[in-house]
Amino acid sequence: MAITLEGDVPIDSVASPPSRLDIAGDRTFRGLTYVFSWMTIFLVLYIVYEIAGKAFPAIQEYGFGFVTGTTWDANRGEFGVFPEIWGTLYSSILALMLGGFFGVSIAIFLTQDFLPPKLEVVFKNIVELLAAIPSVVYGLWGIYVVIPALRPTANWVHEHLGWIPFFETSLSGPGMLPAAMVLSIMILPTISAVSRDALCSVPHRLKEAAFGLGATRWEAILGVILPTSATGIFGALVLGFGRALGETMALAMLVGNSNQVSLSLFSPANTLAALLANNFPEAGKLEEGVLMYAALILMAITLLVNLVGTAIMNRAQRRLSGGER
């Protein structure tokens, strides 16, 4: 006979070992959480597998020439995504320069006691609200507000400074500049939020030390605070860049969907994501496989950038937690 732990407990004790049901439930539930954790990993692998698998025939057929080719003609079966890759990188870099400058400036302005705390919160919420607006709404706004507003200035610049490659075409409608501007607005909240975190995690005593040496506010910011949080801010920029690379709707609506490689800010262009958005719904069997190939390229680029961003953020975190002790 089994001995139980109960022994001779007081008569009115209700203590009892966990019932079989409890134990079975415990095991099942823990197993379930474990299974679902693994499912996350499998999901990522499955996504890669699906897209790569569907792209495989096109990879076999077009090979590396797909990456360097510049024509897209479904009727003749000629496909190349060089203009799209160019457009993706160009628009993202422009957006990063604009959004990065704004995002980091805002992060500095909202963390270094320039404003009373209440106002800081107000501005912080406004910037966060920018992230809440769906991208398709930004696209709509871009079409009906940004493009008409940019056009006169852009065309004036083109007329007078047209010899500079950046201005060599006129802005007749959709184009690189409006797309990149809207894109920069969309990545600004990410950059500013992550940079804010980086700036906030600079130990207060470092700032005090700088002020104690007679530094002005900006000498402290540029000399001590920014260098200390540089890794985190750099990570913010990389993550923002990753966002920009994958952003679809604003570009599909504003960039003009034209297969060309140009430095001009005012000429229409195309990006990988916009290519997918515009061509997928009406694609035939052949074009579908090719689009999968394009999707695979986009996935590879964004995964790479995001990996780098995450690695930088991890290092920033480790550096700070190491430096604190």
Binding site: A2, L5, P17, S19, R20
Partner: protein, 276 residues
């Protein structure tokens, strides 16, 4: 963790050497947190119906020893235990024993009051529900709250959050929660350290009442408190001789004996307040 609610009869109890009715017989040969040896060579019996106090300087392993008694240390990563803890003659560290079951019989009250973020009533009924008690829950809650000398203060606001009480009331709520299921032994880790002197007094009186029904083991930093409530006292100290900071049992005695005529030199110095 091993999931069984019964022990097979092959686990043989060690005979009680001192002939008294020992509920928990705790023998720690070595106890590690990772590479760090926290406690060594301590044999502390907890006797039925008595209050056993653990005293000693900070970091000497009192909490560690106490938490061994209901396997709370299992939660710490890297925890290793070499020795045995016999509860009613059965080794609770035997690999067939479910630590969850152990804790149903050996309840615990913590240093910081830690009521759940739910109503006072549900706090006390929590353990009853765990044990799947269906009948008389309101009666059992009331008697537990009475047992913890809290009933009169909260009987009109049982629906309020347990967090809305004062620190002392919260601690008594935690005691009520622990005794609602009538465990055999109650472990208390510095139950009064977060409380003011009056609340401390209430808890001390409570311990004296509770020992009628329960066996109590309590860690305290307050020597007067040990003298007031404990029947037996275990004095632990830190050994730094081998470069580490390993706690060990210096002396275990009747409380009166230990405080009036300690056998060991360390004990003498400690209760005279020569170090802490």
């Amino acid at each position: 963790m091993i999931m069984t609610n019964t022990l097979d009869s092959s686990i043989v109890a060690e005979p009680n050497t001192n002939g008294k009715n020992v509920v928990i017989d705790c023998k720690i040969r070595n106890l590690y947190y990772g590479k760090f040896r926290a406690v060594r060579d301590s044999h502390i019996p907890v006797e039925e119906g008595q209050v056993t106090a653990f005293i000693g300087p900070s970091g000497c392993g009192k909490s560690t020893a106490l938490r061994c008694l209901n396997r709370m240390n299992d939660l710490v990563r890297g925890f290793r235990f070499d020795g045995h803890v016999h509860f009613r003659g059965k080794d609770i560290y035997h690999r067939n024993v479910d630590p969850v079951a152990v804790r149903r019989y050996i309840g615990m009250v913590f240093q910081q009051p830690n009521p759940f973020a739910m109503s006072i009533y549900n706090n006390v009924a929590f353990g009853l529900r765990l044990n799947r008690v269906k009948d008389d829950i309101p009666e059992r809650v009331e008697s537990a709250l009475r047992g913890a000398a809290l009933w009169d203060e909260v009987k009109d606001k049982l629906k309020n959050s347990g967090l809305s009480l004062s620190g002392g009331q919260q601690q008594r709520l935690c005691i009520a929660r622990a005794i609602a299921t009538e465990p055999t032994v109650l472990l208390m880790d510095e139950p009064c350290s977060a409380l003011d002197p009056i609340a401390t007094r209430r808890i001390e009186e409570l311990m004296t009442e509770l020992k009628e029904k329960y066996t109590i083991a309590v860690v305290t930093h307050n020597l007067q408190q040990a003298q007031r409530v404990a029947d037996k006292t275990a004095f632990m100290y830190v050994d730094t001789s081998d470069g580490g900071r390993t706690g060990y049992l210096v002396e275990y005695e009747d409380t009166g004996q230990l405080f009036e005529d300690p056998k060991e030199e360390y004990t003498k110095q400690y209760i005279r307040g020569e170090f802490s």
